[in-house]
């Protein structure tokens, strides 16, 4: 697998350059905003990627907490299956269908729920308890990086087009800000608490953060209907060619995010291995320890990457 990293890195670089080219030259100029609207090709994909990473962090945290006991693990699995089924069926019910915002088709909602359920079980299979926590840390950290980009490019885009740096009424940007704050406090909690139970506390905070997101969305949504304000990026449908470039750009950023996450994951695993080795070394420190414990070879004796 180590050989694949450089190949993937080159491919991703090519994809990023292609997306860059598409974004700046191929995509049509926007009638209203002129060329500055092209910030969308970096702003929106970063946001989608950040939300995806935070969502995986939430799933990993829920699994980490649920796996503490077999009974809760089974219960969690059944709940996810139930959510999956309800989410898959609900959008096709007429009353629910007209609730859906204009751009969303019932089929797309159904498939997203399917993907969510699938994601839960895929993560459950490939990541066992310690790895779940490593996955959670990785997703949170890289997610905060992408989220920071959204919060930087947002105002840079709003300034020339709407003459304002920040629109509190804009649901998406304000929700992203709150999400960013929640996950920064998540990282601060991890750094400040060094007790062996840090992982559990962080997982609990991740669950709290996730519960918070819909509430943030609704509190701002109503706030916006009372004081209509410009929405950064403008709502409504997009020119298909623009949408095409946006998706290319998102694919490129997703690959990039995958590579960054993967290296951060490996770094975290290595950090824990080193910490474990140092702990084991403190095990063998007192010379002449006649204790019954077998002489333990530090796991790092084999050559590292």
């Amino acid at each position: 697998m180590k050989r694949a990293f450089p190949i993937l890195a080159v491919l991703t670089a090519l994809l990023l350059v292609y997306a860059f080219y598409q974004a700046l030259w191929v995509a049509p100029t926007d009638a209203l905003q002129g060329d500055v609207y092209r910030i969308i090709y970096y702003h929106v994909p970063s946001a989608w990627t950040a939300f995806l990473l935070f969502f995986i962090n939430f799933i990993a945290s829920v699994q980490y907490l649920a796996n503490a006991r077999p009974s809760t693990a089974r219960a969690a699995r059944w709940i996810v299956i139930a959510i999956g089924i309800i989410g898959f069926v609900a959008p096709f019910i007429p009353q629910v269908k007209q609730q859906l915002p204009t751009g969303m088709y019932p089929s797309s909602v159904a498939t997203t729920f399917l993907i969510i359920t699938g994601l839960y079980f895929v993560i459950g299979k490939y990541f066992v308890d310690q790895d779940l926590d490593v996955l959670a840390v990785t997703m949170a950290e890289v997610g905060v990086v992408f989220c920071s980009i959204v919060l930087v490019t947002g105002p840079i885009w709003a300034r020339p087009v709407w003459g304002i740096w920040w629109a509190p009424g804009d649901i998406r940007l304000t929700s992203t800000l709150v999400l960013w704050l929640i996950y920064v406090s998540y990282l601060v909690l991890r750094r400040f608490s060094d007790s062996a139970q840090t992982q559990k506390l962080a997982a609990v905070l991740a669950v709290f953060g996730a519960l918070d997101v819909p509430l943030v969305y609704f509190s701002i949504w109503f706030f916006r209907t009372q004081h209509p304000q410009p929405v950064i990026g403008g709502g409504g449908s997009m020119d298909p060619r623009m949408l095409h470039v946006l998706l290319i750009s998102w694919m490129a950023f997703l690959c990039f995010a995958f590579l960054v996450c993967w290296s951060r994951y490996r770094l975290e695993k290595l950090r824990r291995e080193v910490e474990e080795a140092e702990a084991l070394e403190s095990l063998l420190e007192p010379a002449g320890l006649a204790g019954p414990s077998s002489a333990v070879k530090t796991p790092l004796s084999r050559g590292s990457k």
């Binding site: 060094d194 062996a196 910490e275 702990a279 095990l283 007192p286 320890l289 204790g291 019954p292 414990s293």
Partner: protein, 237 residues
């Protein structure tokens, strides 16, 4: 205070199998294996950092082991909490409340209504139940004894005492040893972590020596055969 013990005297009541506890990089316990019998009085010795307190806290269910198993009366420490009494160097009492008020509150945690038991516990440790002075104003010896009263309030089968005699005057310490001896004779299992092991020379059934996170020796007398000359047994406080 005496009650027929379900586990016959001498049968193992506590079993610890390769218990490991790591606090981040520091390894407090490195594979402890031990069994403790019912109705016996154990003293756990060792210098600082040997893992005595961590072992006791793990047995009382206050610390989750990193690896390994603990079974008390056949159950996990959390499940056996009704039969466990825990006392530590800090008093585990509210300074602003009097001894009786403290016990009345902790009495409710064990769901045994009735302050008669509180009075009994206070008298058992040789204190006056009517004393209305807040615990904060007690002498160290009195505070430790009130803490012992709190630990035995619900008549537990097993007592975990962490440094019960530290900076307690000699007289009070000796009296507490007498109390513990009485409880052991009444059938309770007692584990004491202390640096003043000499106080318990005639009383304790077994001395458990710990070093660098492991049990290295178990003797029934304080004098250890192969004690390194430099390691004088912990002298009297």
């Amino acid at each position: 205070m005496t009650n027929p013990l379900t586990a016959p005297r001498g049968a193992p009541i506590i079993a610890v199998s390769n218990l490991v506890k790591q606090f981040g990089r520091f390894t407090a316990l490195r594979g402890v294996n031990a069994e403790f019998d019912a109705g016996k009085f154990y003293v756990i010795l060792g210098d600082n950092g040997a893992g005595k307190t961590t072992l006791l806290r793990a047995l009382a269910g206050l610390t989750d082991p990193s690896r390994g198993e603990i079974s008390i009366l056949g159950k996990k420490p959390h499940e056996a909490s009704r039969d466990l009494g825990y006392m530590a160097h800090p008093s585990l009492l509210y300074d602003e409340m009097s001894g009786m008020e403290n016990l009345l509150y902790f009495d409710k945690l064990y769901d045994i209504a009735g302050n008669s038991r509180c009075e009994q516990a206070i008298q058992a440790v040789g204190l006056d139940a009517e004393l209305s002075r807040p615990v904060g104003k007690y002498s160290q010896g009195m505070r430790q004894r009130m803490s012992l009263a709190r630990a035995i309030l619900h008549d537990p089968k097993i007592l975990f005492l962490d440094e019960p005699f530290s900076n307690v005057d000699l007289h009070s310490a000796r009296e507490m040893v007498g109390l513990l001896k009485g409880m052991r004779d009444a059938g309770k299992t007692i584990l004491v972590v202390t640096h003043q092991a000499a106080l318990l020379e005639g009383t304790a059934d077994e001395f458990v020596w710990m070093q660098a996170g492991q049990i290295v020796d178990r003797t029934n007398h304080l004098a250890r055969g192969h004690l390194a000359p430099g390691d004088a047994p912990a002298g009297e406080s």
